[in-house]
Structures are given as structure tokens and as C-alpha cells.
Subunit: 172 residues, 2 copies
DNA sequence: TATTTCCAGACAAAGTTGGTCTTCTTTCTC
DNA sequence: GAGAAAGAAGACCAACTTTGTCTGGAAATA
């Protein structure tokens, strides 16, 4: 009952592209180091994203990845499902439409309801909106006792990102 | 991103008890064969359910399990979490409150929103309500091309259950 | 006391997750 | 055309989780 690292990393990768001017080609290890993701693992994930049509890959020197679709119209649901496969809480509906358990299908119905809720949340959220808000801590800040987003002490924030990580929404 | 068999079986086990008169003691292998679950696996699961206080166990001949709380007030959320542990979509909030990824916490917020939706569905559904409705196929019957709940051809439905599986809600 | 039932824990096979590594192929630059 | 630089593809792998099984014991009952 978790989102896998792969799904999470895929989203982070796309968000890294979305933060940049549209069409920019970015190398894998730039993205990977920016988000602290193992390069080769991210490579595998971006292969999925390429096949799914979210990004275009360019080989050779000056190569890298660039967004193929506008981040405004890429939903989290699409991304996650392109990496992890269809979101499904139970096996009943996919494997076999009728489950053999006595009270099984009442459960299947419930699971499928919960599943749809998740899908709905993911379907109405885009890569762009996530990139924009960046730090939605306003509502659960107190729970964690945090005053805002932190970064690793010895690790400088890349220059081109400082503007974004101090975006107006966050400060207010 | 799935409910485990263990969680599913646990629910089915409780539902099997809830179908019977309150307080009835039922042996593990009765429940197991009724729901087609491996006995020893179900045994492990019922150990959890016992510890969590949903059922009471009795040893020796005439032993078995009986519901300790009313099925009306046992929620699916409680049951699932007692077996699988807390429902959590991401690691951000549990492991470390601040994630090191660049756009990470926007994602964490989203995941936690989806997670809450699931919890909400599970928290407002009780073992009793599931047992009552039994077959919520009315709304996705057409998708599967089914005309109603099936049971294995050679496998007779236990007598005491026939009434329930043809409950009024289902027929209408 | 014998039998029946659950309890507790060790064990294990299979699948999934989270990667790494190597060997291409493509593209760019000199 | 020769390198070098970058992604592509696939084999591989360690660790963990899931889904069980099995054995020996403990308690309750007949």
C-alpha cells in the first residue's frame, strides 16, 4: 500500500523538467543529482516516461530529456500509471471478475471505491500545479513542527532554483 | 499499491463471523473452508485480530473464535490497519518529516491527500454493512457482463447463508 | 488422560522493489 | 571519419515482503 520509489522519482523527474523553460533539454545526471536520485535508476524510469510520450530523449553530446507535453496537462495519474501500471487495490476485477470468496464482492466493491478516490485525486492534479505550489506545507506545518522547507546544510541550492523555492505562495 | 491477501482474508474472516448470531464460536477451519482461505494462514491472521480485540479465541474442543465487538462498530480501517499496519502512501511523514527532494513535499502533500481519501472510505464502512450488502454488484454489473454473483458449480452454498446471499437489497 | 483446538515461532518459496552494470546505438564535435 | 558523450536495453542482483507451511506446545474439554 505504497507509492513506489519509481513512481515518486518519475514525478520528481518530470517536475524538474517542468521548472525549466519549456523545451529545455536536460541531462539525466543533472536531474538525478538535483533530486538526489540514483542516475541509472532514474534512467530506467525515464525510459518509461519516454515511451509514454511525456518526454523526448536526445542522444549524443548535447543530449538529454525534454518535455514533450505541457506540464499543465500531464496528470499525476498518467505518470504514476505509466510507471507502476494501473492503480488497483484488489485483484478481483482484473484477474477474475467473480471472486470465489463468500462475502468477497462486497469487499471488492469497497476496494474499488477507495481506489477510485485515489485515482480522482491523482487525475485532477497536474505536474504543473505541483511544481507551482512546490511546498504545500501551509496546512500540515504545525504537525511537523516545521517552519518551512529545509535543505541539507552543506548542500547549496542550485542557483536557478532559488527563485522558485522562495515563490510568493510559499512565503505568504 | 494493493491491499494484501492478509488484510482481505482478515476482513472475510470477520465477515464470516458477523453473518452468524452474535457470540457464536466458530472454528478456524470452518471459516477457512467457507472462504477458501488456507487454514494456517488464516490462523496467523486471526492471531492479529485477537490481539487487536476484535475477536476472542477459545481453545480446546468446542473452541474457536467469536466476535468480541459488534460488527456494527468495527470499521474496515481498523481491521486492515491491525493486520497491515498504518495505511501510508509515502515515507515522507513517517520516516522523516522533511524530505530531501527538491519538489518532494508537494508530492508528499498530494500522496497524503490521496491516503486520507482511502482512510475516509475505510473508516466509514463497517464489517456489518459489508456483510449486509454482501453483493454490491448493482453498479458495476454491466462492466463485467455479469448477471449476478456466481458460485463455483460443484460447490454448494452453505444452507445458513442462502438467505443472506439473496438479500432484498441485492434483488432490487 | 486423550483429544481438540488455538498459539508461537521457525522456515521457506515466490514475487516485488530498488537498484547496478555492461553492452549497444545514436549524435555531436573536432 | 574518429572520438566522446549521451541515452537504450537488458541482464543481473540483493534485500525485503508476501504468502504461506510446519512443528511443537499450551490450554480447555470430555
Amino acid at each position: 500500500m505504497q507509492i513506489t520509489r519509481a513512481g515518486e522519482y518519475g514525478m520528481l523527474g518530470l517536475m524538474a523538467l517542468a521548472r525549466r523553460p519549456l523545451g529545455d533539454i536536460v541531462m539525466l545526471d543533472i536531474i538525478a543529482s538535483e533530486e538526489e536520485i540514483p542516475v541509472s535508476f532514474l534512467g530506467k524510469i525515464f525510459q518509461n516516461l519516454t515511451k509514454a510520450g511525456f518526454v523526448r530523449s536526445a542522444r549524443g553530446s548535447k543530449g538529454g530529456f525534454s518535455l514533450l507535453r505541457s506540464p499543465e496537462e500531464i496528470t499525476v495519474l498518467e505518470v504514476i500509471e505509466s510507471i507502476e501500471g494501473k492503480i488497483a487495490f484488489q485483484r478481483c476485477q482484473e484477474d477474475k471478475p467473480d471472486c470465489t470468496h463468500m462475502g468477497g464482492c462486497a469487499l471488492c466493491g469497497l476496494f474499488s471505491e477507495a481506489q477510485d478516490k485515489v485515482k480522482e485525486v491523482f487525475a485532477r492534479t497536474t505536474v504543473a500545479s505541483l511544481t507551482r505550489q512546490h511546498t504545500p506545507f501551509s496546512d500540515h506545518q504545525e504537525q511537523h513542527g516545521l517552519t518551512g522547507p529545509k535543505h541539507q546544510p552543506g548542500k547549496p541550492v542550485p542557483e536557478h532554483l532559488i527563485q522558485l523555492s522562495k515563490s510568493p505562495q510559499t512565503v505568504n
